[in-house]
């Protein structure tokens, strides 16, 4: 379903993804683990048509995301790592807009929106503007939105960041269900090793833009001679702490917070 061969992505002099290759067969839940700045999100961006590879081959359902971007976009759904909601719209409007963009017919759209908002306990706030939501609520809304349509491939980029255990449980149950019922291929990244251990069929560990190990959780533990996935991960990637440089977008958010009172314009 996903095939990546010798993928390289550079930003100027910095190599974010350094010659990685892997394959994800249809119906698999594939976890991409790595410390901050290892190249996880960049890989997802290349797979989801948001960025172009510097070199290498990428195929999503047999299609090249650069030459067949619309066809590729029809095949996946994504929950982003950082916020992607419109804060000046209500929860309902955010869901509705997503449904329209993803061609979910009106009746199904409304029914599914109701089910999902109830499932993630946002129903009584459906008509409130998203900017009045807490961080956790926004996160839940993003996830609910990600499930509004059933894609062939679901990308989840650190979906559980900032989620309470209840919502986390809902999320993974839902992911499992979609995977089993509709054979949705799932490509996820997370910092919580127990989650990867619980849901993923196969795990790739990426560090400094390179894949350092790939296999099932049991295989990784066996290879590193460790008891838990967490230990295996630390053994593979070392225990130094990485920090991503604040991007210009983060700086802008900071800046915007300072002088942005109400709306987004002017």
């Amino acid at each position: 379903m996903i095939r990546v061969e010798n993928l390289v992505k550079k930003f100027g002099d910095f190599t974010a993804v350094d010659n990685i290759s892997f394959e994800v067969p249809k119906g698999e839940i594939f976890a991409f683990l790595g410390p901050n700045g290892a190249g996880k999100t960049t890989t997802i961006k290349v797979l989801t048509t948001l960025a172009k590879a510097t070199s290498g081959t990428v195929e999503v359902d047999g299609l090249n995301p650069v030459t067949h971007e619309n066809e590729v976009r029809q095949r996946f759904g994504i929950v982003f790592q950082d916020p992607s909601l419109d804060q000046d719209l209500t929860a309902w409007e955010n869901m509705d807009l997503h449904g329209v963009l993803y061609h979910v017919p009106g009746k199904i759209r409304r029914e599914k929106t109701e089910t999902l908002l109830k499932l993630f306990e946002l129903w009584d706030r459906k008509d409130a503007l998203v900017k009045t939501f807490s961080g956790g609520m926004r996160r839940r809304l993003e996830i609910a939105r990600g499930f509004l349509h059933t894609p062939k491939i679901l990308f989840l980029d650190e979906p559980t960041l900032g989620l309470d255990p209840q919502s986390r449980n809902q999320l993974w149950t839902h992911v499992k269900r979609q995977n089993e019922a509709d054979h949705v291929t799932v490509f996820l990244t997370t910092h919580y090793m127990d989650e990867a251990d619980r849901v993923a069929d196969r795990i790739a560990v990426i560090d400094h833009g390179k894949i350092v190990a790939i296999g099932s959780s049991a295989e990784l533990k066996q290879r590193t001679g460790t008891e838990s996935l967490e230990e295996a991960f630390l053994k593979l990637t070392g225990s130094t702490i990485r920090d991503e440089a604040a991007s210009s977008a983060d700086q802008m958010r900071q800046f915007a917070k300072m002088w942005r009172g109400g709306g987004a314009r002017r």
Partner: protein, 248 residues
């Protein structure tokens, strides 16, 4: 089609919800209209040009449409910063439709703003030549709005963050306004200035508004409409191309 509609609706909803900003946005045009309109009025009158308020009102309407439409295009940068842009960029909808929906939404907001300013002008004492002038004025407002919303989208697609915003404001948007003849007649200008004003697309917009609203113009409504239409098409094409190239 539904994607274009929903993105258009988003822009309009956001505008109608930002009441404080709507009121705030009336400040600048009101200052121009009342202070310059009444302040320079006597001089203008002495020069044998009639009422300055009457002359300037179409210019101020054009200015409001210009600012609102360019900014609505540049609001793309906000969507990039707050992440919403990604949501639309990965959607299974050709980017051209996303761009058209946004641009038409921005243009509609600019037209609404222009109508609001026109009402303010009418209250301040502006009188168009006939009732028919008002709907014809909407046509020129719409052309100005689409042209500059497309320009805004082009700029928004090309900038990475708001750091370039001041530059765009001071070296593009303000010159477009000041060189458009919104505040002064285009007749008998020094050659260099006359040349530069003739390159400014807003000159034709303001001129068109003047022709239909007060029955006096410089280029004539036909040339105005042709120039506005042609530039709008070029900018829409260019904006769509820039928008399709956005990487996050």
């Amino acid at each position: 089609m539904s994607a274009i509609y929903i993105l258009w609706l988003r822009e309009v909803k956001k505008y109608l919800r930002s009441r404080v900003q709507i009121i705030a946005s009336l400040g600048q045009p009101l200052l121009y209209l009342l202070v310059l309109g009444f302040g320079l009025g006597p001089v203008f009158q002495k020069a044998g040009r009639g009422s300055y308020l009457q002359f300037m009102a179409p210019g101020i309407i054009g200015m409001s449409v210009l600012f609102t439409s360019v900014f609505s295009g540049i609001a793309l940068l906000w969507d990039r910063q707050f992440g919403f842009l990604k949501e639309t960029l990965v959607a299974p909808v050709p980017r051209i439709r996303i761009m058209i929906g946004r641009t038409l939404g921005g243009a509609t907001v600019a037209i609404l703003q222009g109508i609001l300013i026109m009402i303010v002008c009418l209250i301040a004492g502006f009188r168009p030549v006939s009732l028919l002038s008002i709907p014809l004025g909407f046509v020129f407002m719409a052309m100005i709005a689409i042209l500059f919303a497309a320009l805004g989208t082009t700029i928004g697609s090309s900038l990475q963050d708001m750091q370039g915003f001041q530059l765009i404001m001071n070296f593009l948007v303000l010159p477009i306004f000041f060189l458009s003849g919104a505040l002064f007649p285009l007749n008998n200008l020094p050659k260099a200035l006359a040349f530069v004003t003739s390159l400014d697309p807003l000159s034709y917009g303001v001129d068109g508004l003047r022709v239909v609203l007060i029955g006096a113009g410089h280029f004539g409504w036909f040339i105005d409409a042709i120039v506005l239409g042609a530039v709008a098409i070029v900018l829409l094409g260019f904006g769509a191309w820039r928008f399709s190239k956005i990487e996050i």
